[in-house]
């Protein structure tokens, strides 16, 4: 029987993979994908909690839909910015995007 704990474990692992990706990836698209992983970990959590904690209310599932929408909007803006960076910097390795330092 798969219970709440299984979902929470899965989502925690996914969230940690996302954080690890953001911190270690050097490619802007890779970082963007890792951030999406973090969002989706949250989605799993929301749907699982919605199913096991408040089975009659749909707050969690609606919230997950909101997150998916926002993630899509963010990905659009993010990819546009990455495209701009690619044109002007001739690459999307974040290590090379460092013209400002203190």
């Amino acid at each position: 029987m798969i219970g709440l704990n299984h979902f929470l474990t899965l989502s925690t692992i996914l969230f940690c993979i996302g954080i690890f990706g953001v911190l270690t990836r050097r490619n802007a698209i890779g970082i963007l994908m890792s951030i999406e992983l973090m969002f989706n970990a949250v989605n799993i959590n929301f749907v699982a909690f919605s199913r096991f904690v408040t089975p009659t209310a749909l707050v969690g599932q609606i919230f997950a839909i909101f997150i998916i929408t926002i993630a899509a909007a963010e990905a659009t803006v993010g990819l546009a910015i990455v495209l701009l960076i690619y044109r002007n910097f001739k690459g999307i390795n974040v290590d090379n995007i460092n013209i400002m330092k203190w």
Binding site: F15, I35, F39, I62, L84, M100, W102
Partner: protein, 486 residues
């Protein structure tokens, strides 16, 4: 399952509706405007802000929730909306001449400013973590684009990318915090969260703790507090200057609006437990901001670190808590909006096309080149440093006073020491302006200030002096705003 159609009172969200409709209107009409008439978008946007402001005045002294308790209009939210709308109004005015000068006058700019303002207003009114999250994202996504609005400028691109990546990363943490709280409470409504915490001895509930901590990370990023401040200097330096002023005024205040509401309303019964963490954050934020600002040679970067330090002062008010704490925070954010936008307006006025003149040595001899601009800059810098008789002094006085009253004398001592440090780097510019000869340069022409920028300077100066000399009227307004959240 029963479905209840929620009672919707559209009158309560009239300011938001106005801002949103005008933002869409600008997007739709802009492609049809010829190049010379693009400025109409700007006029449309400030008209929208003025209408929303008037609609907002009519909501004063109302306390009503709508959309099944998700959206709350109370004096606290209304006061914050005044701050956002005033900030956006000033930013739109200073943007016009700047965009014309840099030849990036596009209608989307004003549309995005309005959308961002809409997000802030939702943040202030949100009484449910769903609305707070949506408001935060509407605000931030617009800002990511605005930060990179100078498309051919590498620094602007870099600012945009850094802001986006860090902002989305922080949003991930915020969301994980919200889901923790949802898992523990079974609802995302702030009212039900406080009911749950008071009735269930949530001190032992690990999920609430983890959730509160992650929420603090998410909001800490938006208000630029240490240790989540890494993006601030780069974004402030790279973004177009009006946007830098915008980010430092509105979104910071909006982050505080949500942070204060969530932590002092929903988590108020466990305040003793999170106070220590915020205490450390406030002390670190003030110290790191002020000390690193000493080493800066670029004024936008210096103001970025000063903005971090000011977030620290407002965090002191959060630590103090209570009615006096929140009202002093509101007063501080209002004062900071005007003095910071004023200072950035002078920074913009000194720029030339393709050449921002933001090095500190560009300010030497400004007193002889343009005495009025130099005097106004001095007023704003004095206010930022906290000298009487300016708004900055009164704001710091109330914040520190409320902290002393709540018994956090140690934090106040750190704050006052920090104010002393900050005097050095603010006054360094004043010394440069009045006591140094101008650097010999080829483009030593007269500084022309556009009419709209003059208007902004007059409004900000008046506000800074008014709040410094006669703070009572606005302070009592701030005090009237906070009673609803306790």
């Amino acid at each position: 399952m029963d479905w209840i159609i929620p009672a919707v009172n559209l009158k309560l969200i009239l300011p938001e509706i106005v801002v949103c409709l005008f933002a869409i209107l600008i997007l739709v009409t802009d492609p049809f405007l010829s190049k010379e008439r693009k400025i109409w978008s700007a006029h449309l946007s400030w008209i929208a802000v003025v209408i929303a402001f008037i609609a907002n005045i009519r909501l004063w002294n109302l306390q009503e929730a709508t959309f099944t308790n998700m959206f709350l209009v109370d004096n606290y939210a209304t006061f914050f909306k005044f701050i956002f709308l005033a900030g956006s109004f000033l930013i739109i005015l200073i943007s016009m001449s700047y965009l014309k000068r840099e030849e990036i006058l596009h209608g989307e700019y004003f549309s995005l400013i309005l959308f961002s303002t809409l997000g802030m207003m939702l943040l202030a009114s949100g009484f449910d973590l769903v609305v707070i999250f949506l408001g935060l994202e509407i605000m931030s996504v617009s800002l990511y684009v605005l930060a990179g609005f100078k498309r051919s400028d590498l620094a602007s691109n870099e600012a945009s990318l850094k802001y986006f990546l860090m902002g989305a990363f922080a949003t991930g943490f915020l969301l994980y915090g919200i889901v923790m709280i949802y898992g523990s409470v079974g609802s995302t409504n702030l009212g039900q969260i406080i009911n749950h915490i008071t009735s269930n001895d949530a001190g032992s509930n690990l999920l609430i703790w983890a959730g509160a901590g992650l929420l603090l990370v998410g909001f800490g990023f938006k208000i630029a507090s240490v240790p989540f401040h890494m993006w601030v200097p780069d974004v402030y330096q790279g973004a177009p200057t009006p946007i830098t002023a915008f980010i430092s005024a509105g979104p910071k205040a909006a982050g505080f609006a949500a942070l204060l509401r969530v932590f002092l309303f929903s988590f108020t019964t466990i305040k003793m437990d999170w106070t220590m963490i915020v205490w450390i954050m406030a002390a670190l934020t003030m110290s790191v901001g002020n000390i690193v600002a000493l080493a800066q040679s670029d004024i936008k970067r210096m103001l970025a670190y000063s903005s971090i330090a000011h977030a620290g002062y407002v965090l002191v008010a959060l630590v103090a808590g209570g009615e006096t704490g929140v009202s002093s925070a509101l007063f501080y954010l209002l004062a900071y909006t005007f003095m910071n936008i004023g200072a950035f307006t002078v920074v913009i006025a000194l720029g030339r096309k393709g050449q921002d003149n933001t090095k500190l040595e560009d300010y030497s001899g400004l007193g002889s080149r343009s005495p009025i601009l130099a005097i106004l800059m001095t007023i704003f810098l004095f206010s930022l440093a906290g000298f009487p008789p300016t708004a900055g002094f009164m704001a710091k006085f109330y914040v520190f006073g409320s902290a002393v009253k709540s018994g956090f004398t140690g934090l106040v001592i750190i704050g006052v020491l920090n104010s002393l440090i900050s005097v050095y780097y603010y006054l360094r510019i004043v010394v440069l302006m009045f006591m140094q000869a101008p650097v010999t340069r080829t483009d030593n022409e007269r500084i022309k200030v556009a009419f709209c920028a003059i208007l902004v300077l007059i409004i900000s100066t008046w506000a800074v002096l008014q709040m410094g000399i006669f703070p009572q009227s606005l302070l009592s307004l701030a005090q009237a705003s906070v009673s609803s959240i306790f």
